[in-house]
């Protein structure tokens, strides 16, 4: 694979010789993991530099080094041709580098404008009026609208993301680094973000854009760098990128990511239905309401082997519906029947024992106990059960063997089952959780945004897993904001709008348009 091609193509394409920021030979080691291995990376004015790579490839690590959060073990950083040391986030800000991190960095208890003002020298007056004016200006530039006095924690995830971007621009005068900013956005939000990046690039900003979605990368990026297992697998400079057709570019990026000849995992396809029509319905939901209006009067049925997609703009009650079905949220009205049995009042554990599995979208917040070993996390929903416990006592060998099996089967990249799960990259945590939910005897899989944050290969694997589960007779509810995903996997697609099911559409040629209409509240 080509290495450090940055220097070879310097400026030729845009007539700008000195990159704003140049990272060369960056190496960063964690216990048991080489997260960055001699990586070189340039950020040039007026350019959106897309950074791709599998889960755990080292993208966030590189960004943490660029932002002063982590110190590289070796390597050089130059800004405007001068070598610098970015010893702290303050240094990065001083150098004009603003970052939107993969995980939220808003203080949930402070208001939007307070979050933005954070970081001024302490002896200065707060300058609220000036801050509001600046916020108005940046909001206009970015085309976002937020209440400056709303508490950050009360905003929807999409709005929080917008505030993060405003915050990054607030601090970074010349370089904007975006680590997977689109994973929380609606398709329209993604489109808007693309325009914002283009506008900023036109103003001379250097932009780093991390995404797992190839279309986004091709649509917004001028230059592409691919990381693989911490090493730079290759770089496609602007001249070459613009010369390629989208299909050729996709193929080339996939080659870099997965080796030659990899099929396009994003190519549209559709699963053959595996509904067992003559079976009785497995799940019957009647007039379910929960979460103080978050879910209202929802009814549907589901047969074994069927996949019901749930579409809708994020925050329309999908999460609460999932929690109500899993038993984490009390049903305020209505009934849930599972395999002919009323489970409306059953607690989470009893539903789990019946085969109802909830794959949560909040992997760190509730899906795992970060400090516990992977092995322990994999049996977290079966505490006390045989064969992992006997007579109340833990059997560590069984738990470890189980963990090793799932780690192998689900391709979790980790030094071993005794590692704390929080040290895995997001994608690998999700693979482990898939393993946990699909082990044992699942009958219904409730998957909430199962592919969010995953790289293309893992998205493929996750979707195949859901298909395979359905083929094996497991009923699936697939909550997703990715239309492609829903169209690929679902037999029917229900659209949630303001807590209600606005309509259920059979998956077919016209489904996409029908869903689009329902999602924005149209009939």
């Amino acid at each position: 694979m080509p290495e450090g091609t940055g220097a070879a193509t310097t400026g030729a394409d845009r007539g700008l010789d000195v990159p704003l920021v140049r990272l060369s030979g960056i190496t960063k080691r964690f216990p048991g993991v080489l997260a960055n291995d001699e990586v070189s990376f340039d950020i040039r004015p007026g350019e959106v530099h897309a950074l791709l790579g599998e889960n755990g490839a080292g993208k966030s690590t590189l960004i943490a080094i660029l932002s002063g959060v982590l110190q590289p073990d070796s390597g050089r950083i130059e800004v405007n041709g001068r070598p610098v040391r970015i010893a702290s986030p303050r240094d990065a800000i001083r150098l004009g580098i603003g970052t939107v991190y993969q995980h939220s960095t808003l203080v949930p208890t402070l208001s939007v404008v307070q979050n933005l003002m954070l970081g001024q020298r302490w002896w200065r007056p707060l300058g609220r009026a000036a801050a509001l004016a600046r916020l108005a200006e940046l909001s206009a530039l970015l085309g976002v609208r937020v209440d400056p006095d709303a508490t950050a924690g009360s905003l929807s995830l999409g709005q929080q993301q917008q505030v993060e971007i405003v915050k990054a621009l607030w601090r970074g005068e010349r370089v904007l680094v975006l680590d997977e900013p689109t994973s929380m956005l609606t398709p329209q939000g993604v489109e808007e973000l693309g325009q914002v990046m283009a506008r900023l690039a036109a103003r001379g900003f250097g932009i780093v854009f991390v995404s797992h979605k190839l279309q986004e990368v091709l649509a917004f990026g001028h230059r592409v760098t691919v990381l693989k297992l911490g090493r730079k697998a290759g770089e496609i400079p602007p001249a070459r990128l613009s010369a390629l057709s989208p299909a050729e570019a996709t193929a080339e990026i996939l080659d870099l990511m997965f080796g030659r000849g990899a099929a396009d995992p994003e190519a549209p396809r559709r699963r053959a239905s595996t509904i067992r029509a003559d079976d009785a319905p497995l799940l019957e939901v009647e007039h379910l309401s929960a979460g103080e209006g978050a879910v209202q009067d929802v009814s549907f049925t589901l047969r074994p082997g069927e996949i019901l997609g749930i579409a809708g703009v994020d925050g329309n009650g999908q999460k609460q519906l999932a929690e109500a079905l899993a038993g984490q949220l009390r049903a305020e009205a209505g009934r849930i029947r599972f395999a002919g049995r009323d489970i409306t009042r059953l607690p989470v554990a009893r539903r789990h024992a019946l085969g109802l599995r909830y794959l949560t979208d909040d992997r760190l917040g509730e899906g795992t106990v970060g400090g516990f070993a992977i092995g322990t996390n994999l049996v977290m929903k079966r505490v006390g059960e045989p064969p992992f416990w006997a007579g109340g006592f833990e059997r560590p060998a069984r738990i470890a063997a189980h963990a090793r099996e799932l780690i192998g089967r689900y391709d979790v990249r980790t030094p071993g089952p005794e590692v704390p799960i929080a040290t895995l990259s997001g994608g690998n945590i999700q693979k482990a959780l898939f393993g946990r939910e699909l082990s044992g005897e699942p009958r219904l899989l409730l998957a909430n945004k199962p592919t969010y944050g995953l790289d293309v290969a893992n998205i493929r694997a996750a979707r195949d897993r859901i298909s395979a589960a359905a083929a094996a007779g497991v009923a699936c509810i697939l909550i997703s904001t990715e239309l492609d995903e829903l169209l690929e996997l679902s037999d029917r697609i229900a659209v949630m709008y303001r807590g209600r099911i606005a309509g259920i559409v059979g998956n077919g040629p016209d489904a996409e348009r029908a869903i689009g209409r329902l999602m924005v509240g149209g009939a």
Binding site: A326, A373, W389
Partner: protein, 346 residues
């Protein structure tokens, strides 16, 4: 602080790691003593001679360990479950007061072991009962238990003193105190020693607590709640019920500590008695990383220091409170070396 982390006592150089800070702390203590014009060597020799190398002294040390071990067990349960029950002192004192109030009468009226068993049960129940309000507030409204249990301490001290001055008071006695349990009726001694069976009981309890917390499904459930209550909810654990269980077990153990202290050694509770053991044991349990065996070792060191230190301080014409400085030094230096060691391990 992951509960799964290598416990201080399990790793190979653990005894060394525990010894180095001890020596350092004693060294600084020696400097202070020298500055005060006392002979440090003599002082520490006195401590050891009194508390370890002297038959009756060693026995006193072991006897002092009994309530401390039970309190350590109580704290291990709640800390591992992520609940900061800082109300042990109130639970301890109230349970001791109740056990002491009924001890003489029950021992007189019932077969000895029945009476003792009932007194222990009573103490456990009183301790647990005193923790139910904070447990309810935590489980129902999420009220922070540090605040509520600290307040229950102040309430418990007041209530205990009030009861001793009114209902439970011994009218024969001028100062307010409960009826004395005669020496012969206190917990039986082992052989010819001063060491009563409560010490063995306490050791067994803390070991059992350790095994339950680290090796059983119940213990893992508590640890999950302790590390991430939302994950516990998601995994189908009944967090409210576990919260009640933790408070009940932890406070019952604190109550048992009170019973052991009163039925084994003191025989009586005076209205102004405030041993304040809880506050002393909390840091020991932290330093032991919630590990039962390590906690036994730390409690032993502490007991040696208080039994031996008392006499050494008297002989050196220093206030007994001088030992608090030694205690603090040991705690801080242990914490520092622990940190340095965990950094070195990476």
């Amino acid at each position: 602080m992951s509960a799964a982390a290598t416990p201080a006592a399990a790793a190979l150089p653990a005894w060394l790691r525990a010894l180095v800070p001890l020596v350092l702390a004693l060294g600084i203590g020696a400097l202070i003593l020298a500055a005060l014009g006392r002979d440090p060597v003599q002082f520490f020799a006195n401590v050891l001679n009194r508390a370890v190398f002297n038959r009756s002294g060693l026995q006193e040390t072991l006897v002092l360990m009994a309530p401390l071990l039970l309190i350590a067990a109580s704290l291990i349960v709640c800390f591992r479950a992520g609940l900061w029950n800082l109300g042990i002192d109130g639970q301890f004192l109230l349970a001791a007061t109740f056990a002491s109030a009924f001890a003489a009468a029950w021992v007189a009226a019932l077969p000895y072991w029945v009476a003792m068993a009932l007194l222990f049960l009573l103490a456990a129940a009183v301790g647990a009962g005193w923790a139910m309000l904070p447990a309810f507030l935590k489980a129902r409204y999420g009220v922070n238990e540090i605040v509520s249990t600290l307040m229950m301490n102040f309430l418990g001290f007041g209530l205990s003193a009030f009861l001793i001055k009114t209902l439970f008071g011994d009218p024969e006695h001028p100062a307010p105190q409960t009826t004395m349990l005669e020496v012969a009726e206190r917990l039986p001694r082992i052989g010819e020693t001063l060491v009563h069976v409560g010490v063995v009981f306490a050791l067994l309890v803390i070991l059992a607590v350790h095994v339950v917390m680290t090796r059983t499904g119940f213990g893992l459930r508590l640890r999950i709640v302790g590390h991430n209550p939302r994950a516990a909810e998601h995994a189908g654990l009944n967090v409210r019920r576990l919260t009640f269980a933790v408070f009940a077990i932890s406070a019952a153990l604190a109550g048992l500590a009170g019973a052991v202290e009163v039925l084994g050694v003191r025989g009586v509770v005076r209205a102004d008695w405030h041993p304040g053991y809880g506050l002393l044991v909390v840091p020991l349990v932290f330093l032991a990383r919630f590990h039962g065996v390590a906690a036994i070792a730390f409690v032993f060191v502490f007991a040696v220091l208080s039994i031996g230190g008392e006499s050494a301080a008297r002989r050196a014409d220093l206030p007994n409170d001088f030992l608090l400085i030694m205690m603090a030094l040991i705690l801080v230096i242990l914490a520092v070396t622990d940190h340095v060691a965990s950094r070195a391990r990476g």
